[in-house]
């Protein structure tokens, strides 16, 4: 029934995707600098949300650790940015996040899902407290200055990370690894009984998603000039990807991307216009979305499609 549509869509949507990518790649040349900065911010949210969806989408384990992984990337940049070339710093930021995720995963993913959520909830706070204490007692510097990088470079790095994350998410979805993840999300006990090593599969996906968040954090740090643990580990970054992914809908890849893009743009506007109210607004939107739009935009689109072609 839908199969003819899919086959017809494939070359069509690939073509559009390609056009969009070319558009994005050439943007800095003909667009105002302000928009380049805005787009970098939007990319940041899209990458974090997309990465979050790589793990939390299929497995249904809600990770609240995004702030920790993004923050680790930011802080790595702050520590190493003066000493090492930018590409190396970015990769190290990603790797440290990766290793942190492995640790968290092996610790909590062998237990029931609730322990995982609980543990990830406080982890960014924990790291923040720990770093504050460490910096105060051992290195003497709370707060570091970051090497400044020009906006165009930041933009292109973010674009590259976005493409990498998108490609990874796409390949995972279509691979046996993705099927294993979805099986775990559907019924974990049954999944283990057909031979899936759930702990290893989950931890790997979790670490992959952390890697991209760390990469993004490491480059975005250069926009903030001054970093201290409080700035690097903002709990908002744990909350945002969840909201954006739910708003967009986690069933399809385009859901988190559009959800994040729309929300990031909204946030830029709202923060400038209503700096004192935006948390209130986001909280309200989240509750409304959960109550009335549980499958997000993707759910809306699918309902609309089903309405068109009778079942």
């Amino acid at each position: 029934m839908d199969s003819t549509r899919v086959i017809y869509k494939r070359p069509f949507s690939l073509g559009i995707l390609f056009l969009i990518l070319i558009l994005l790649a050439t943007m800095p040349f003909y667009v105002q600098p302000y928009l380049v900065i805005l787009l970098s911010s939007i990319f940041m949210y899209v990458i974090i949300t997309l990465s979050w969806t790589i793990f939390s989408g299929p497995t249904r384990y809600i990770s609240l650790a995004s702030a920790a992984f993004f923050g680790v990337g930011v802080y790595t940049s702050a520590i190493l940015g003066q000493a090492l070339p930018l590409p190396v710093v970015i990769v190290i930021g990603g790797l440290v996040s990766f290793i942190l995720a492995l640790f968290i995963g092996l610790l909590t993913l062998r237990l029931r899902g609730m322990y995982f959520i609980i543990f990830t909830f406080g982890i960014s706070e924990l790291i923040r407290h720990f770093l504050l204490w460490w910096e105060a007692n051992f290195t003497g510097t709370v707060g570091r200055w970051v090497v400044i990088v020009d906006n165009t470079t930041v933009y292109y790095v973010m674009l590259v990370i976005f493409i990498m994350a998108l490609l990874t998410a796409y390949l995972i979805r279509r691979s046996r690894f993705g099927l294993a993840l979805r099986s775990i999300g559907e019924y974990e006990e049954a999944a283990t009984h057909i031979g899936i090593n759930a702990t290893v599969v989950k931890t790997t996906a979790f670490a992959i998603s952390a890697f991209f968040m760390g990469l993004a954090g490491a480059i975005m740090a250069t926009r903030w000039t001054y970093i201290d643990p409080r700035i690097a580990f903002d709990p908002l970054f744990s909350f945002m990807p969840v909201l954006m992914a739910i708003f967009g809908g986690t069933g399809q890849l385009y859901g988190p991307i559009f959800g994040a893009a729309i929300f990031a743009y909204l946030e830029e506007i709202l923060i400038t216009k209503f700096p004192y109210y935006y948390m209130l607004l986001f909280g309200t939107i989240l509750i409304i979305v959960i109550m009335f739009l549980p499958h997000g935009l993707v759910g809306l689109v699918q309902k609309w499609r089903k309405g068109g072609s009778r079942r």
Binding site: F119, L280, G283, L286
Partner: protein, 290 residues
């Protein structure tokens, strides 16, 4: 030397009492209502700030605020559960889906409440100076407010413990917490019990807030840390065991007091280390079911 020891013990018991209260509150909301209420800390913060306002504007003592904030927050919690969470419960496709959506909804509450608090009270650190008079016991000098806070924290915890273990309603709540399905079969009006339990969780927050305001400083952003601590205590005591949360609260409070004595910035780190050890060795906690 002895005085420092006593100070640490008293500080630990105060913190312990407060931790016990907030952990029991969270445990009621999670154990019975199956809602992991990450906005729990915000309720505590509301209790603390309401107390501050009542004191600075109307001169109402924090001890009196206990009676105002407790039931007040109970009502708010009850209503929120009756409307938001029961709606989600009704429209969720499965228990797992409800757990997820209620978690996210409570996230939304966290942000709404915190933003409201920031709007009303601004981001400054505030403190109450109430009964800061020195009192002499056994030759050692303590502040009256700390002693009173200790009395109330331990007192309310004990009272609640007795309520849970000796009264009929208390036993019904514990039964519903440990086995909601059976409780429902046995005629317990599960929807009302759920809303009451959620409200009771808020009640605990409403008690903890004023007590905290008496001794510690407060900021509208303080909620998150208390939520995390409550969660760690609940895991320490054992998911599903309310008495475990009581005991766990005091244990963690004492540990926290000892750590704070050496280095104030490390207490949350110490709690998380305990958390990690728990997850490695005995995830079911002290009194949890194996």
């Amino acid at each position: 030397m002895f005085i420092t020891f006593l100070d640490v013990v008293i500080g630990g018991l105060i913190m312990g009492g407060i931790y016990a209260l907030i952990a029991v509150g969270l445990s009621l909301q999670y154990g019975v209502g199956r809602v992991l209420n990450v906005s729990h800390g915000e309720f505590i913060m509301l209790g603390a700030f309401a107390t501050w306002s009542l004191y600075t504007v109307f001169g109402i003592s924090p001890l009196v605020s206990l009676i105002i904030c407790g039931p007040g927050l109970f009502l708010i919690g009850f209503l929120i559960h009756r409307t938001l969470f029961q709606y989600l419960r009704g429209t969720s496709e499965s228990i797992g889906a409800f757990a997820d959506s209620s978690l996210l909804a409570s996230f939304g509450l966290l942000f709404i409440i915190q933003n409201l608090a920031l709007l009303i009270w601004k981001a400054d650190i505030r403190g109450l100076s109430y009964l800061n008079v020195p009192v002499s016991i056994l030759g050692a000098i303590f502040e009256a407010n700390r002693l009173i806070a200790l009395l109330f924290a331990v007192g309310i915890s004990l009272a609640f413990y007795i309520f849970l273990t000796r009264t009929r309603l208390g036993k019904a709540i514990r039964a519903a917490a440990e086995d909601p399905a059976t409780a429902q079969v046995m005629g317990v009006n599960i929807r009302r019990v759920l809303a009451i339990c959620f409200g009771l969780g808020a009640l605990m927050a409403g008690f903890a807030g004023p007590l905290i305001s008496m001794i510690y400083e407060m900021q509208p952003t303080m909620g998150l840390e208390y939520t995390i601590i409550a969660i760690i205590v609940v895991v320490l005591g054992g998911l599903g065991s309310i008495t475990g949360s009581l005991i766990g609260g005091f244990i963690l409070g004492l540990i926290g007091s000892v750590v704070t004595n050496f280095d104030p910035g490390l207490s949350l780190v110490a709690y998380y280390v305990i958390f990690i050890l728990l997850l490695l060795v005995r995830p079911t906690g002290l009194l949890g079911k194996s």
